[in-house]
């Protein structure tokens, strides 16, 4: 019978070295995501990026902990949303894919057709999100059903959602579908206390969104989303259980969005004192302190990591910036794979 587990997952503790490795590795992804997004935000402010820029600042631990512990090569799936730069990278999305999509490079996975966070490589376990919140859950379900049809029941699909996204009918239908089909789905609910400007009391009336789990017949986990170690443990357990055939798992992490909804938004509506309240911290410095305290990395190693991370980000961005923009005259202006049935304009060649 599924039930809600208390804040820290009850899985057997991993040994110390594994623990260190996992933590450091997650930290790297968090740092890479933060560094990349800071760069993208700067480019946005400089007018070099059109459309929206949405950051995962403050959510890197929660996002990376899921993405990193899924196994892309094994066939796992990761469906990230707008605050999952860290999870996407940790899962295996090339840095260049991110840079190219933000910058609209014709060589990016979306070829300038779609932008920023709407990128994906569905054949590598990364479906490309549509904007309509909640809609990706059932898409992941379908990917898992397909794998099951082919005898693969040991792959796991991770999907993320925000507190606001849980109010959508699509989320409900998707999670219920996964439960009925007993699919190996891990849903990560990042309750960052806001949906755009809307505080959670306009979004739900339960005490914690993890209270939803039992109603779906799904195992629930309730964690502090700013605590990297808690995130790693909860997702490790959730993924493990899903892989073992125990059906969908729902991990709810409390945290705070440490940015505007998008970079156009100064988020004046977020009371500043929330940062000092529980779950209001920044997971990145928290993890860094832990790293140093535990001596899992030395200050020198850390400095070195910061430098190389910045370099790789700068390099990817520079490369994407140097690439050609999409050319409307070369574009196939139709939307079908079945070319001979297309009514749109076919390419000249």
């Amino acid at each position: 019978m599924p039930h809600t587990t208390p804040s820290v997952a009850s899985a057997a503790s991993v040994d110390a070295e594994k623990n260190r490795e996992r933590f450091v590795s997650a930290f790297r992804w968090m740092l890479l995501a933060r560094t990349f997004e800071d760069k993208i935000a700067a480019l946005y402010r400089a007018g070099k990026i059109v459309g929206g820029v949405y950051l995962g600042r403050g959510q890197e631990a929660f996002s990376a902990a899921l993405g990193m512990q899924l196994d892309q090569k094994h066939g796992d799936v990761f469906a990230g949303l707008i605050r999952d730069q860290a999870g996407r990278m940790a899962f295996g999305e090339p840095l260049l894919d991110s840079a190219r999509t933000y910058l609209g490079s014709a060589e990016g996975p979306m070829r300038g057709r779609d932008g920023n966070i709407h990128r994906g490589r569905p054949l590598r376990g990364m479906p490309a999100m549509i904007s309509h919140l909640g809609a990706m859950i059932s898409v992941v379900n379908g990917m898992l059903m397909a794998k099951r049809f082919r005898g693969r029941t040991d792959v796991v699909g991770g999907a993320t959602i925000g507190d606001g996204g849980t109010s959508t009918g699509a989320f409900h239908e998707g999670l219920n579908q996964a439960a009925v089909e007993r699919l190996p789905l891990v849903v990560a609910v990042a309750d960052n206390q806001f949906a755009y400007s809307t505080a959670t009391e306009h979004q739900y009336a339960c005490e914690n969104l993890v209270d939803r789990a039992i109603g779906y017949g799904v195992r629930g986990y309730r964690i502090d989303g700013t605590d990297l170690e808690a995130c790693l443990e909860a997702f490790a357990e959730a993924i493990e259980r899903a892989r073992r055939g125990e059906g969908p798992q729902m991990v709810v992490g409390k945290l705070l969005r440490l940015a505007g909804h998008g970079e156009h938004d100064d988020a004046r509506y977020i009371p500043p004192d929330l940062r000092d309240k529980p779950f209001g911290g920044d997971c990145l410095p928290l993890a860094r302190e832990r790293l140093l305290d535990e001596k899992w990395l030395s200050q020198d190693e850390l400095d070195e990591l910061v430098t190389t991370t910045q370099e790789s980000v700068d390099e990817a961005v520079a490369r994407a910036q140097s690439e050609p923009d999409p050319n409307p005259f070369r574009e196939s202006w139709h939307a079908l794979a079945t070319k001979h049935l297309a009514e749109g304009t076919l390419p000249a060649d």
Partner: protein, 321 residues
């Protein structure tokens, strides 16, 4: 042995399941029960595990089909009635229809919509939605009018690498019969001259083809030879065949069971007007259902949709223009 339009749909699905292990069927009550209209009867027994009952969750039903299609499956989705596809609307138009264009990964799903009005089925079990779905880039919309096309086009729909909205007309399910299943069919994308004529062209699809044919038979008795074009698919529209017909007849009436604003008849008339203006000897005309929801009472319902009588009247009028 007579084969109905509904049998043809069942047989096409059966053959697709047999020929391609990537095919599966998903929808409400499609498994042991065989579907609200029995279009999947017996299939869950013949293909265990590949015909699956879904919860009442059209959004998730379509979303999961897209996910499975990404992975190379070829799901067939049965909506219990076309009208309920409004709940899966977002996943259809924004998720499935944009998938290939955005990511380059094909999305071969077939969404079967039991469509069109029948006596007493009312506003929410009668809708014809080809005009809505055809508006969206990335979708193919099929509207078979014959047993042969119900079979052949559904097989083709399942094989096509794009999302196909397959509009089956409920009025045709049981009454329309053929002697056998076709060996080959006209390719998808080609319209069919359902009846040759020279005084006017009536373009229609699905059940309206039969109303148009009946009107043509009536008018034949009055000495008018009406050409009836069965569009077969609402998207793509075979403009060439329509233009060729109008070139022969000089007159066009476009008929559809959809609501009157926009939609199939507007698209057909405006294509012919733009591309075949000089072929027209009279103003091209349209006939649609009326601009209200679809009524429950048979008296009202029969007056709401085009019928052979109103098609005949509109055609007579057209010939005199």
């Amino acid at each position: 042995m007579a084969i109905t339009y509904l049998d043809a749909i069942r047989e096409a699905q059966s053959r697709a399941l047999e020929e391609d292990e990537n095919v599966y069927i998903y929808g409400q009550d499609v498994a042991a029960f065989g579907g609200a209209f029995k279009a999947t009867k017996g299939l869950s027994e013949r293909f265990p595990g590949r015909v699956i009952d879904a919860p009442i969750s059209e959004d998730a039903i379509v979303g999961s089909a897209v996910g499975a299609a990404i992975e190379g499956m070829r799901p067939i989705i049965e909506m219990q009635f076309a009208d309920f596809s409004s709940i899966g609307f977002n996943q259809i138009i924004n998720q499935s229809a944009t998938q290939f264009w955005r990511t380059g990964v094909p999305c071969p799903i077939t969404i079967r919509l039991p469509s069109g009005g029948t006596e007493g089925s009312g506003p929410f079990h009668s809708q014809s939605l080809e005009s809505i779905y055809a508006h969206y880039p990335g979708l193919i919309v099929m509207t078979p009018a014959t047993v042969e096309d119900a079979y052949g086009m559904l097989l083709e729909a399942i094989r096509i690498d794009d999302p196909v909205i397959f509009c089956e007309h409920k009025l045709l399910y049981y009454h329309l019969k053929a002697d056998e299943l076709p060996k080959t069919i006209l390719p998808v994308g080609k319209a069919r001259i359902a009846r040759a004529g020279r005084h006017a062209t009536v373009v229609a699809c699905s059940a309206m083809v039969h109303e148009a044919l009946r009107a043509a038979r009536e008018l034949a008795e009055e000495g008018w030879q009406i050409e009836v074009v069965d569009l077969r698919s609402a998207k793509p529209i075979d403009t060439d065949t329509i233009l060729a017909s109008v070139a022969r007849t000089g007159r066009l009436l476009a008929v559809s069971e959809s609501f009157p604003w926009g939609g199939l008849t507007a698209e057909v008339v405006s294509r012919v007007s733009a591309e075949g203006f000089h072929l027209l000897d009279a103003p091209p005309q349209r006939l649609n259902s009326k601009d209200t929801p679809i009524p429950y009472h048979p008296n009202l319902w029969r007056a709401h949709r085009p019928t052979w009588q109103t098609i005949a009247a509109a055609t007579r009028n057209l010939i005199q223009l």
